[in-house]
Symmetry: C2
Subunit: 389 residues, 2 copies
Amino acid sequence: MREVVALGVGMTPFGVSEKTCVELFASAAWEAVQDAGIGTKDIEALFLGNVFGDFEEGQAVMASFAAAQLGIPHIPATRFEGACASGAVAVRDAYMLVASGQYDLVLAGGTERCTVMGTSLATRTFAMGSDSRYESPTGITFPGVFGMIAHMYADKYALPLSRLKEHMAMVAVKNHKNGCFNEKAQFRKEITPEHVLNSAMIADPLQLFDCCPFSDGAAAVVLTTLEKAKKMTEKPVIIAGAGQASAGNLGDQRDLTLVQARRISSKKAYEMAGIGPEEIDVCELHDCFTIAEIVATEGLGFFNDGEGSYAAQEGKTGLQGTIPINPSGGLKAKGHPIGATGAAQVYEIVKQLKGECGDRQVENARIGITDTLGGDLCTIVNLILKRGW
Amino acid sequence: MREVVALGVGMTPFGVSEKTCVELFASAAWEAVQDAGIGTKDIEALFLGNVFGDFEEGQAVMASFAAAQLGIPHIPATRFEGACASGAVAVRDAYMLVASGQYDLVLAGGTERCTVMGTSLATRTFAMGSDSRYESPTGITFPGVFGMIAHMYADKYALPLSRLKEHMAMVAVKNHKNGCFNEKAQFRKEITPEHVLNSAMIADPLQLFDCCPFSDGAAAVVLTTLEKAKKMTEKPVIIAGAGQASAGNLGDQRDLTLVQARRISSKKAYEMAGIGPEEIDVCELHDCFTIAEIVATEGLGFFNDGEGSYAAQEGKTGLQGTIPINPSGGLKAKGHPIGATGAAQVYEIVKQLKGECGDRQVENARIGITDTLGGDLCTIVNLILKRGW
């Protein structure tokens, strides 16, 4: 397999937008193309993550229209859907096809326009990431799923729930702080633990500030071979490892605090990259809820099982911590346009490795990892990126 | 690139089903796995085409649940959407990843459950394959699009509309006749030209029998390398060529009778296979409407532009014709579970090349092509398959 480089990245501001999914993606794509120093005519294929374009805008087969919007209407253009991991699935597929020689230069990414649905409809629609045969009839939603995980986590590790809630609050505080330094983040306002613990109850024990927002936005990545990239940049960011794994519905997954798919996916990515978690300098992971960040830091191997919550409390995941998690602000503060999130994580890691992150820069970041979760813990994608200089 | 074989194929009966999309796909997949002589544990990744699982069943991230249903919950499982070409897009992606050495054995296919929506809602929902910004506000639906194409075709080639309608009727008559010999077809009843010409008007000049039905069903293909396949079968069906191309919305496409994306996609597939249309023995193409079959036979190079309608009239596309088109009955009689259709076309071509088609067998079929269309002519996939013995 050939070495593959994320040659250029682009991302819209996350938040509330009047633009359509296709227009949002085009904005991110133009930025990625300029960052890469190429023309759109150089793009051989398009890989687009999107979850609910049909519900949001009445738009199916979106990838074709995205290609046309970029002035390259005839290239193979495909939409990928893996719930909130859709953008990551698209980037991984694109990566594999460049690595293996099917294409030399492609555009991948994701786009979503969640706010057009309104909060109630969005929560109901997102719940389609649960198994419609065996889970949805119970009325479960994602806040409910992660509320359950928080309870199971507290019970498993004999942590009083009030204590866990304090630790979870520190995840929100940290990510909001990071978001202040990210000009593209949806929320750029510091919060205190009290903000979290006094906010509205959503799904016990998760309160409003334990939850990420609904967002509109898009992100894009230009991928090419290292050989080609060497002629165009002195700072090629290499995709060193990639993993994807699935799981059945929650009833099949036994211990929800462990997220089996993540363990399989990240193991694959680490093996490909030939490194372990201790060599990761910076991580963007799927903090759709504060408890999700805690279990992800364990699943990715940064902390032992049961120790992630203490690590959050102790500041180990802050910008100056032992393993800086979500310097971008994460889904929590940067925002979560679901189909775009995986690609936006790649955007942040590429910027971090290149040292272009200003006040949120992780010092001397050389290797980073992304972690994107879709559905009821049933799709996970991990990508490891490293400096090629 | 390595040579890739369609080692096994499976397909549910098409029609009306009480099963969910996941259950339908599992049925097709088990048949494909048995046909391939493998176990599901041999499957390294899953590629699933599906268009509207969310609208039909409230189900997103369907590929993960499909993998779990097959007892392999942890493999990478991805959903692909390219409107009615979704299944074909999934198979092509799977093909490329096996060809390039990323995987050695994978399962690809598609599933859909259109009838659960009812006819009116289905027509409205399918119209999401049009550009939601510039086309959908006009109220256009797919029967409308293909009605326009029929008018443009008649005008361009100075064919009286009444004459074109007679030619189109012969497409329906032929496909219904073929469907009689297909035990999995939705409609197994011969019709006459009078049935077509006396049926209800849908979108002038298209009448009811010019239109394919709404259907439930699934199809699946096991793909592996020729090297592996040689140890398992004496009749390896090789994927000799593959193409995919896109187009913008109708307003960007100029001459709708030419379907530009098809010309680009099929050219790529023919070039990869190193053959021309004259070497194709059997073809499964996207006859969502009778006029669609006529323009596709021209776009694939079987007839000159403007001659496809006469060819249909003269019986050149029948089972004993110069180029048998849609021996399965096509979308028109076999049925059109949209996300499954591309994979079902592969199913038919594989069966034809192996000589397993009974009364609908095309004699001595050695090379076949599939043609799948998604959206407003904006996604096309072509696959060329040939005998490897």
